[in-house]
Each structure stands twice: as C-alpha cells, then as structure tokens.
C-alpha cells in the first residue's frame, strides 16, 4: 500500500482522492498543512485556481516543504492548476510557483469557459483514446531536454513527465477513465521501492 496525498487547499480534491482509493493499492490523504506531507509516498496537485492555491501555499510557508518533497524524489502529479504550480516558467509572469518542471506554460490557453471542451487523445505509454476534459486549461508551450512529452491535442503539448514529476493540462479525475491515475500510482510504487 502506498500513501498518496492530495493537496487540499482548494479545488477538485475529492475526485482525485476517489480515483486513488479506487486503485485498491493506494491510500489517499488530504493535505492542508506542512506536517501532513511527511509520511507520504507521492502527492497530487489538483485542478482549481492556481492563484488561490499559491496564496494559501505562501501564507503558511508551504512552498519549501513542497519543493523538498519533489527533491527527495517523491512523485508529484499536477493536473491543470497543478501543472501551472509545477512549471518553472509561466507566460506573462515573472516567475514560476513551485518552480520544479523545466517547461513554459500558458494559462487559460484555449480562452474563456465557453471554449472549454472534452476530447479524446493518446498519452504515450499510458493510454490510447483517453477521455480528456479541458477546463480553462493551460498549455505547455516549451519543454526542456529532460522533459518527456506524453500527449498532444491538435499539435499542442497537454501532458508531460520529467523524472518523478507527471503533469497534464486536462482532468482525468472528472472522468471514469482510471488509466492516468493508474500510471501515477505505479510511479509512486516504483519510487517507494527505490527509496527503501
């Protein structure tokens, strides 16, 4: 059994927790405070509003512990707002939030809510015909050499991995398709073995 936290400051927290629990081999823990990070094997940064999450991260000195969690090699999976939190570079902003993944992202890249959509796409090594829900979604516009692109939508990058960091700009947690979460839980299991 692996323990996977879901950052529960704001956003679609319970949907991720439900997905993780349904794997049967992972326990989901809601994380609001730094001390709740310590015995976790992996962490999900859910969708929501990235500016809200950043404010709440800053107010409790949560940023450094989250960065340390990643530096310890423990896997992190960021969806939508979580992707924005992970990025080193954000289009139109001075600096990244957690500043972890070597990529540039553009917020609200498809436009306003009425342009939000769902589509099917293939994610390399994870799934074919994956149901993907895009809500005021960001895009990855550039990636560094160490980043592996996992999925495209109409030629734009929408999912990627850099070592123990996994990210997508859509919401697998809003669908019945468990394959993306399954892939992440496997990452966490492998990393736990390696760390032990």
């Amino acid at each position: 059994m692996v323990k996977i936290g879901v950052l529960a400051l704001q956003g679609a927290v319970h949907e991720h927790a439900k997905m993780l629990e349904s794997e049967g081999t992972s326990e989901a823990i809601l994380v609001k405070k730094e001390e709740e990070l310590y015995d976790l094997d992996g962490l999900v940064l859910p969708g929501g509003e990235s500016t809200t999450m950043r404010r709440l991260i800053d107010r409790y000195g949560f940023r450094d512990p989250l960065r340390q969690f990643a530096k310890d090699g423990k896997p992190i999976f960021g969806t939508c707002a979580g992707l924005i939190l992970l990025a080193k570079h954000i289009d139109g902003q001075q600096e990244g939030h957690l500043d972890l993944m070597d990529m540039t992202v553009k917020r609200n890249a498809f436009g306003r809510q009425k342009e939000s959509f769902e589509a099917e796409l293939d994610a390399k090594g994870i799934a074919r015909d994956l149901a993907a829900v895009f809500i005021r979604a960001p895009l990855i516009t550039e990636v560094g050499d160490s980043v592996d692109v996992l999925a495209y939508h109409q030629g734009e990058i929408v999912a990627a991995q850099q070592g123990s960091l996994l990210t997508c700009s859509f919401h697998p947690e809003l669908t019945d398709d468990h394959r993306f979460h399954h892939y992440f839980v496997d990452m966490v299991k492998n990393s736990k073995k390696a760390i032990v």
């Binding site: 529960a8 400051l9 704001q10 956003g11 679609a12 927290v13 319970h14 949907e15 609001k32 969708g47 929501g48 509003e49 500016t51 809200t52 404010r55 709440l56 107010r59 939508c80 707002a81 917020r107 609200n108 306003r112 809510q113 009425k114 342009e115 939000s116 959509f117 769902e118 589509a119 099917e120 829900v133 895009f134 809500i135 005021r136 939508h153 109409q154 919401h171 809003l174 669908t175």
Partner: protein, 294 residues
Amino acid sequence: MADTGTDRVKRGMAEMQKGGVIMDVVNAEQAKIAEEAGAVAVMALERVPSDIREAGGVARMADPDILEEVIGAVSIPVMAKARIGHIVEARVLEAFGADYIDESEVLTPADEVYHIDKNTFTAPFVCGARDLGEALRRIGEGASMIRTKGEPGTGNIVEAVRHMRMVQAQVKKVAGMSRDELMTEAKNLGAPYELLVSIQETGKLPVVNFAAGGIATPADAALMMSLGSDGVFVGSGVFKSEDPQQFARAIVEATTHYEDYELIGRLSKGLGTAMTGIEIANIPEPERMQDRSQ
C-alpha cells in the same frame, strides 16, 4: 472532435471552484483585491446586494462595460448575474465572455413563472435554491452549480444556514429511500425523477453546492463549510467591511481551514467592523429576495 458546453465541462468548471470563495466586485480595482486575496472567482456587478436593497427600483444585468473591465483586470474566472427568466441578458453575458452566469433572485425577476432553459447555453449557470426541490428543478433546467439563496445583502447568515441544512437533510433522506419511494418523493418535491434516482445512487447532489446570502465574517464562511457547503459566495460582506483587503484574505483562509478554530480566531482579530446586519424579521415579506422564484 472537441465538444464544448457538455455537462461534464460545465459542471467540472464548478468542481474546480470547490473549497474557494467567490466575491462580488463592482470594478477592476475591487476585482484585483479579490484575486490578490485568493478568491477563486469574482462576480461582476453594478451594485452589491446591500446597495441594490437600499436603492430599490428595478435591478438589472450590469453594464457590459463593467464585465469587460473586470475580465480585463484578472485571470481568475469572472461570473455575472442575469435576471431570472431574462434569456437575452444571459445571452449577452455569454457573448461577452462571462465564465459563469448567475440567474439570480438578487436582480428583479424578468419572468415570474419560468426560468431560462440553461441547457441550451455553452456557458454554465449557477442558481439559488432554498430546498432540494428548487435545486433539482434548476438542475433539470440545466444549472451546473447550485448555491443557497440565503437572504442577500443582509449580512445575516440565518437564511443561508436554513437553506443549506434543508438541502443536506433532504439529500440524506432521498439517499436512504428505496427505489419505489422515489416517484412519490419526486411529486412531493416537484423535482425530476431521474435526478432523485441519481441522488439515491450516489448519495449526493449531481452538482456543486455553494453557500450564499448573508456571509459577513470569516467565522460565517467557516460555519457554512462545516455544514457541508462546497464553497462560499461573499456578496456585500467584503467591500462593505472596514478593511476589504484584510477581510477578503481572512475569509479565503477561514474557508480553506474551516476546522482550525485557533486560526479562525486569529483571522478574526482586529478585522474591524463587518458590514451592518439586518434582522430578517424586519424585512417586509415582499422585499425578501429569496421568495422571488420557486
């Protein structure tokens, strides 16, 4: 092969707002204060509910100028209110890029019988409800998010509490029913049968349910969260307080950490005066906004 305006996309947008605070704003400056404080969205209005109450007369959709100004000022979602049944106001708001439309009893209703057929819109809608029947009728019409009506512009939490408790109790009751009881319950509630079936199967409303109408302090916001709200709308509370910046921040934090009472106490210290409240019994019945639609 990309579908816009599906239920999953519209309801999903509300899912992303959970655990957050949506604040009423009347201009770009207030919108920036709200975003900086950590609001998950803002509601662009011409006047906040307490001013609407004071001004009297007919309250309509805000000038599209205000919507544009607010959209230009922040990167978080921007919501806007249309009058109940006013299809054209809603279409205009959708065309101007409102991320969510509130078909709201705070404005003077345009139609006293029918609500907008919200299923035909690409933009999602939020609607007010006092009980489960009302909530499910709105969802049946296509609302992707529900909020309690409370009593807007009063700074008095009592009605929001009443409505949240009512909806929660009715959801629990339906979840515990057997299938053969649901049709009669649908008749009693005046609600679509299929939605009752969904509640009985999942044990919860099919959309997100926020608290609104009377939240005036960080403790009020935390109270609504502990009663099972998915998040809160704060209308007049923020910008009618003495120090909106600090107040907005405190409400955001209290909503996230609603079970950390020591923190809520600290957040409440030295906040200055909250908006002045109104006793519900002192509002003549025809002036109660919550009774404006069924």
